[in-house]
Symmetry: C2
Subunit: 400 residues, 2 copies
């Protein structure tokens, strides 16, 4: 019952966070443009200055909401005079989670302002996830995974991954913070996909609230409800045609929020199921990300003369493609998920390897808004698929 | 003995943090200038672009050092398998302290980039100190203060301030974050004064390490040693003539670091003794800060034709000065700490009310480097005075 009341208060605060974010964003636009934080919308004909990095606004309202919520969430324990009964472990989790999120906000905003190098983008999330791993060690230190039934003959019922499990969690933080960032570039996609993922998590947590790990899912809910509120407010301005851009700040903020609640809520595997489009996009992008083939600065679709979006292409000399690059291109051609052309001068031209461009190849030129809706549709279908894997299908691999 | 080893490791990591910060800063200068984060040095004749907001670099190296130190500080407890013995309270303090510091870094950097309004500058530190107050409540909740001997006849031996004590701590956080920021404007002063305060804290903690509250002072040392390292590296470039400016980022970062270790190290009153010049400067500035008399955008000294610095002045119409403003001016005139002139057109001209200008009035025009050294000298003398109050004199007011 008490859980119920605290959730209601959380929802009320989140509504307040939504209203504040919704009202503050338009007032800050000029401030961001004067600070040189703006970009041009490459998929529009107009040359308007669109203020950028507005993720920092939702991030800050999220943090403030969480700070004000802390005394309420722990209110019962604070009011009872015996502090020895205080749930230190839960409080530690909350602080560590907020610390990691705050660090990523700082990193994201620095990246938007300063254009950091790739090594910073990989180093800093790793370091920022350190407190999280220490907390995991102190509070749970369960690094044993249950082996799916078909593999038990070789591997046994369970494996203790030990240190490897911590490496996995550290990499999860790095993956989540960057995965949303590379599936981006058209109006409303970053915020939209985060909203779909967040709502999927909300549904999953609500289902599991009556299960064995209720506490962990309640923890996750405390984060995801305000997150949905501030994301929704941002989406209102980021939706086609975008009045503001969210910047790396938002992508890192959203990614780290997902990572911390996946890790500390003990559902990192289910969390990854909600990231299917991002995982596909990452794998599909690897030949370009790791420079096996040429990777231009921008890989977003191009605006064609009919006002619709068409896939963008990268061109490179055949000799500059490494062996791994060629193998990837062959593999993609086999599955017909690439549009590739050999030109008369010996150069090879293929679409930029992102899920966005792949969509355009499969459905043909589309206007930007429709494309965003289709991609968010894919995200939602994948979430449904994730639930099917998580619930009916899981019984094939695990005891329920 | 173990404490000793951990402090040695802390010092080694801090040396590494110093070297890293020292090497990174020059490499990032161009990045900051391209991001429009630069200012002109108003006290120099040259028009060079000086990159600004470099506090974010020291802040980040500080955070990274702390993150890497956490597993080491808590290493003994992490390695013993019985997690029920883990010192949750200490770990909570460390996370809450880092969370507040990280928030202020984010706020400070946002301020440097976006030029926030005053209400944000007061609201955000207050909110950022909330987790700190919750931690204080859980871990100590001691809001009783011992009354100094001369007042015991009226007030009794001790008073329980209750909620008021939390208001005091919240205000301490706001005061510290802004106090350094308003005693600024000449090369090396922000970093220099922070270094003097930090070294005073280091000495105080080292003395108290053999006392009753060794744990609290050890906690403070874990923060202050890396802080001194990154500040020293920054001072190398911020010293006259400045190659980089530290920005609000550094002032907020330093202020919040002092506030958290004062609050969680239980020596907030002694901490305030190290802030005597800042407190004087704040009180002296109030007529302008609260707009009782005119306050120009910049109150830094002006460069005169001889290449030395002279006090800067504010002018305002006599009728625009509020009653409180007039009372302040009379009070300051009585103590001869203001230079005031009544002009023929009825306007009143007085020096901008900062400690820096007051210094220049008392000693006459001075070059910038000497002025910084004098102000840091005052800071150091005040620290010595603080130690005299804290040790020999305290016995007059309290039982030792």
């Amino acid at each position: 019952m008490e859980t119920f009341y605290i959730l209601i208060i959380n929802i009320l605060f989140s509504i307040f966070a939504f209203i504040s974010t919704y009202n503050i964003i338009p007032r800050l636009k000029d401030m961001f443009v004067s600070a040189n934080l703006y970009g041009k919308d490459l998929n529009k004909k107009s040359e308007n200055k669109i203020p950028e990095a507005f993720g920092v606004v939702s991030g800050c309202t999220f943090l403030i909401t969480m700070f004000v919520l802390i005394p309420i969430i722990f209110g019962r324990h604070i009011l009872q005079n015996d502090t020895s009964l205080f749930p230190h472990s839960e409080f530690i989790e909350m602080l560590a989670a907020l610390l990691s999120i705050c660090c990523m906000l700082l990193l994201g905003f620095s990246d938007d302002v300063l254009n950091l190098r790739w090594r910073h983008k990989l180093l800093l999330p790793t370091v920022a996830s350190l407190p999280l791993l220490v907390v995991y060690y102190i509070n749970f230190n369960s690094t044993t995974i249950i082996v799916p039934k078909p593999f038990r003959d070789f591997l046994g019922v369970s494996i203790n991954l030990g240190l490897l499990y911590y490496v996995y969690m550290g990499m999860l933080a790095v993956f989540c913070t960057n995965a949303i960032n590379i599936l981006a570039g058209i109006n409303g996609l970053e915020t939209g996909q985060s909203l779909v993922i967040a709502i999927s998590i909300l549904i999953f947590n609500s289902i599991e609230l009556s299960g064995d790990c209720a506490q962990a899912h309640l923890f996750s809910l405390h984060f995801i409800i305000p997150f949905i509120a501030v994301t929704f407010a941002l989406l209102k301005y980021n939706w086609y045609p975008s009045e503001v851009f969210v910047g790396d700040t938002y992508c890192y903020f959203a990614g780290m929020t997902f990572a911390v609640i996946g890790i500390l809520g003990h559902f990192s595997k289910t969390m990854l199921l909600f990231f299917i489009p991002q995982i596909f996009n990452f794998l599909y992008s690897t030949p370009q990300l790791f420079h096996f083939i040429n990777c231009p600065r921008h890989r977003i679709p191009r605006l064609d003369k009919y006002g619709t979006l068409s896939p963008s292409y990268a061109e490179c000399n055949k000799v500059n493609i490494s062996i791994i690059g060629r193998m990837c291109l062959k593999l993609f051609s086999y599955f017909k998920i690439i549009h590739i052309e050999e030109k008369s001068d010996g150069n090879i031209k293929c679409n930029n390897l992102t899920l966005i461009n792949l969509c355009l190849i499969l459905i043909g030129p589309t206007n930007e808004k429709t494309l965003t809706i289709i991609l968010l549709g894919i995200q939602a279908v994948c979430s449904m698929f994730a639930f099917i894997i998580r619930y009916p299908l899981a019984s094939l691999f695990y005891e329920v």
